[in-house]
Symmetry: C2
Subunit: 424 residues, 2 copies
């Protein structure tokens, strides 16, 4: 019996590897090795690890030093007797990444340098619900300017910016952020206009989902971050950032992780999204607060923790229900994705001691693989700052991944060297 | 305010690109271009597309022809006047991939050649539930031998085999396949032993999840397969294969897609897995058949379609419920993953006319992005043969992806050519 099945579908054509392509490839190879080790590396070690000739290493190192991507550090000893060696390490006076975040309690701005160190972190109190988009983004533009000025004084150059928003985004446009009262808001264009209003500035902008950026913050920042996890961002709404094998899973169009709208009870409470029984209607902060919203002067999460610590029965019952429904929705997520770690982030990191037992009970009962492979559930590390730090780290990661692009822009570098064929 | 955040985590060290690596890279480049186009390609076109020198193209083409990876075909015309040109195309007399499947109605074996054409497809009736593992795998080993003999007569060489099983797999071991009554069955070792019992055979074996392989079958075989979709495999159980941006999403440990155990009603019907309200308890074939199992001599899916066509109220109501619960579980999946196409496979492809309306209603109501980006729901193309064809295509894809590995094994090739530095 035979039948005709087509061969696999066309892939993107690839480029052949030729001599003139070797130099930038080898520069990126060396740079990424230094990024990956996270410690000073000697030229000798670079030659050994990469197998490249010493003169090639020397020339590439000079280029990276001139472009402020690397610096020569203090001396390192390799544990044996002998002369201490000069190490190459990531520069803390070169390019930097800016992160901006619109969150429940504040607007936030953050700058990180190439080493991943936070160099600037600022907040401005903000009323969240029903926020007027041009006004919010004008205030963020001022914060961005202030951040850039502050770090310029420390010899840093902000090269790119990322804005975190609580909702799905497409090409800079926020599709739907019910907590802000936004629908189809072109946040990228509004922020661009607000920045331009403050004076000329050559700063590429990206708008991205808050839960995704927070997950990236945890991935980069965590000393022992697992390589696959579901980051649950709890607050006025609920979102998730999914990291699989060290990479953020954005979905086909960048709208993955809408955990707040996973159905828990098909015929349950109506949700503003138009559906019924969404997780959000049981486990968001407003759902936990119920008929008693947070009093003036407190935030929703401090109101919930305060009442829970007092032992108020209604609050404890609401937290029980939140934990159980979170457990059901997360079990669905883990059955679909096969991930074995859940990080409770945002407000859920503060509430984890009331939520974790019920989440675990539902996961152990409902996730098929839990029978032979236990699931880890723990609070996230960065708390409510995860998204703005993740946004800044995402910005600087563009330089980490593509150092030649930065070198071509950097006035201190010799970009013409990149174009000349050189066999090394 | 400053804080210390670690730079991104170590990546796998990469190899520098050096002269002696160029030749196999360029061979793979040329081969993949021919795989991707799916039509005969002239040496002139290869030179133009890859930018490689004509003598390099000629040498590599000879190597691929000698190794039976390519063949010179008939002549092609490019639509203009002039001499017809000799084209290079994938060989149909070289390496081949074997697929084996354990499914509800039968054991199946399939061989595809390098062009993706099915060259052998055979079935043996099989009782499914409570199947004795050594017996089933011994029968499959006989079918594998017969398949290899049949295609050897057509000058094909089966180089690798893939076995599809209805459950999560780890390193050849089937963790749990309730429909077979299997738990922790080392299917890889049992099949290996059964094959060895029939005589010496150098055939690498892989065991993989049925829904995953069926999704790959759809991806490779579909003329217009979308690059991202959820393939739902319906039958005695329910599984899903998730394809995102043209790649199968296996999850952290290869156990993704357990759609049958997504919770629909948290306090609903008990499931053999130990949970309650799993999709499987409402939408699998046994759930749809209810108190009246399929009579002897019919399969569960023909029993369901027969009764539905007769208009039996109990069957129509059960199909309504199956569609609604499938819609709820799929809406969860799409909210989490951001995928806009659902392919109904296995028995669901036969039942799609009774299921689709309810699935669509739930998805339109519950998937956040459906408001601005409609979801496609349609039957899969390959029907119940998807998994065995997908298994065979997965096998041959190893040669497509790594032609140099095959050349090094192939007696007709000149593997020493691969090891000699040659600048082309």
């Amino acid at each position: 019996m035979t039948g005709n099945i087509r061969p696999s579908r066309p892939r993107q054509p690839e480029s052949p590897v030729r001599q003139e392509n070797l130099r930038p490839l080898n520069l990126e190879l060396i740079f990424r090795h230094i990024v990956a080790t996270g410690r000073p590396v000697s030229r000798t070690e670079l030659a050994t690890v990469t197998g490249l000739a010493r003169p090639t290493i020397t020339r590439i190192a000079e280029e990276l030093l001139a472009g402020s991507l690397l610096t020569e550090t203090g001396l390192t000893r390799n544990g044996r007797a002998g002369r201490p060696r000069v190490g190459l390490t990531l520069s803390d006076r070169g390019p930097a990444g800016l992160g901006l975040d619109i969150r429940a309690d504040a607007l936030a701005a953050c700058v990180v340098d190439l080493t991943g160190t936070v160099r600037h972190l600022a907040f401005a109190p903000s009323t969240y619900a029903g926020a007027d988009a041009p006004d919010v983004l004008a205030r963020l533009a001022h914060m961005a300017r202030a951040a850039i000025e502050a770090v310029t004084a420390e010899d840093l150059t902000v090269v790119t910016a990322t804005l975190a928003v609580p909702g799905p985004v497409h090409a800079g446009v926020v599709r739907s952020a019910p907590e802000l009262g936004w629908r189809e808001v072109d946040a990228g264009a509004l922020l661009r206009a607000a920045l331009d209003h403050l004076g000329p500035l050559d700063l590429p902008l990206t708008v991205d989902n808050q839960a995704n950026l927070a997950a990236l913050g945890e991935l980069y920042a965590g000393d022992n971050a697992p390589s696959s996890f579901v980051y649950v961002s709890g607050g006025l709404g609920i979102g998730a950032g999914i990291v699989l094998d060290g990479r953020l899973l954005r979905g086909a169009r960048g709208w993955s992780g809408e955990l707040g709208h996973v159905t828990v009870y098909p015929d349950g409470e109506p949700c503003p999204c138009g559906s019924r029984g969404c997780l959000q209607t049981y486990a968001s902060l407003p759902a936990i607060l119920g008929d008693e919203p947070a009093p003036a002067g407190t935030t929703p999460d401090t109101a919930v923790t305060g009442r829970a610590e007092e032992g108020r029965p209604a609050t404890l019952a609401a937290l029980d229900r939140a934990g159980t429904t979170l457990g059901v929705a997360l079990a669905d997520t883990l059955n679909i994705l096969d991930i074995d770690t859940v990080l409770l982030g945002g407000s859920f990191s503060l509430l984890s001691s009331w939520l974790t037992a019920n989440i675990r009970a539902e996961i152990d009962r409902r996730v098929l693989s839990a029978a032979w492979a236990p699931v880890t559930i723990r609070p996230a590390l960065l708390g409510p700052d995860a998204a703005v730090i993740g946004a800044a780290l995402t910005s600087i990661d563009q330089v980490r991944q593509h150092p030649t692009t930065w070198l071509a822009r950097s006035p201190g570098s010799r970009p013409e060297g990149l174009r000349e064929p050189d066999a090394g």
